[in-house]
Symmetry: none
DNA sequence: GTGGTCTAGACCACA
DNA sequence: GTGGTCTAGACCACA
């Protein structure tokens, strides 16, 4: 599965965060299903060309968010929850709400926000987008 | 005007960024108008309970974003630009679009996003919101 | 003569430097001739809406450059030198040479420089220009 | 590469600006190429006999000018832009134009300017030159 | 007084 | 180790 993941080592976005996002995405897409095993920290790090501490950190945070779980001596797996995808999507929605609240507090009109949403969903976003993703 | 600003010194969000946001907000709200003077670096720092260098950094970044300008020996002022508020609002909209794009990429539906926007504008937001506000 | 001088109090360019430039310009234009009296520091400062120290500093530097001279108890006058204008022009040429040298060291071609000079002399400069002027 | 850089700690030109110029020059000369790593902030500061904050400031300004970029935990690198050198050269040309404009406003003739340019390019410059070099 | 630069050094997140 | 933030405080030019 590591072949499905490409990190941008030049980005300012922390690598461990990129990794978290990528794994979440794979869950969302159904590429990773509850119970599936994740690569071992060390070999994964080697394959990604990244520091083991970095993979470790990504795994730890994902575990804290109940998206994956580890069994000492056996490995790391995708959580057995049928609401995993919903849970991840809800995180994204919360982020949107935070951004909208800030905009609202800056007197941006609801109409302007709605049209911005329309633009994104009609694919007219020239923004690189990337940034943030979960936490 | 310094009494209008409250910083969260414990937040992991950099103090100078919080300060930038607060000042931007005051401009947006019309509390600060083009030509208005900002507090002197040192006295402002004292009032905020912060190091002068931190205020300095906030001022310098706002200056290179053309939101304020400084003149040695005289002081710091809000830029004389009639498009200041629009400019700041557009920054907020861009943030929203980034967040929406990420949500979209996580298969969040447009309907869900729109309803999230509705929630925020009807005042039902329990999100801490606060964070971010400028580049 | 103070009515001929307009300072930009908002500019980042130091006021005393602006004042020096303006006086030099007036000499160059023949508005001020050798032997002419300059306004007294205090009244001049008042007229310009500027701190007396600032006018003082401009006068001191101009005196150091032999462009003006002061007689204690009498006042300040334009130097009685017939080469004053040439001298001022030569200062400007030196500045150009410094800038050209830096450009040359950055591998800018002579052709590019010449064409830049042409542009300025044909009036196609969209640069605000202003900055620097003597010292 | 740090051995290629000599700062004048006594100059009134800010150290961080000198450093910015020197780095820009090295890029211009091809000594530093896109993707190349710059010395770490702290070790560079030690080698230059300067405070880390000063190097930091130079790096951060070069970063916002898109000349270099930093990644926390990894290091600082020359930007991957093929137009970097052109961009820097254009900055120098702008400086020349500003100086020429001022000279022109002081009634310096075009002929005089051209001959000054000739002098510089034929190596007859006794001007200290050094100073300035970036934004 | 006002902004700008700089040192000395601590602490943090990330790799 | 690497960059980013912050404090404490000095010194400078300018007004």
């Amino acid at each position: 599965m590591d072949t499905l993941i490409k990190l941008d080592l030049l980005s300012r976005r922390p690598i461990y965060e990129q990794l978290k996002s990528k794994i979440s995405e794979l869950v969302l897409l159904g590429e990773l299903k509850p119970g599936d095993a994740l690569p071992a920290v060390r070999s994964f790090a080697r394959d990604l060309g990244v520091n083991p501490n970095t993979v470790q950190k990504a795994y730890q945070e994902l575990e804290r968010e109940n998206i994956i779980y580890s069994v000492v001596g056996r490995g790391t797996y995708i959580s057995r929850s049928d609401k995993l995808a919903d849970q991840l999507r809800e995180q994204q929605v919360q982020r949107v709400k935070s951004a909208v609240l800030l905009a609202k507090n800056s007197s941006v009109t609801k109409e302007r926000i709605i049209s911005a949403v329309d633009e994104v969903f009609s694919g007219k976003n020239h923004a690189e987008g990337e940034s943030q993703a979960d936490d």
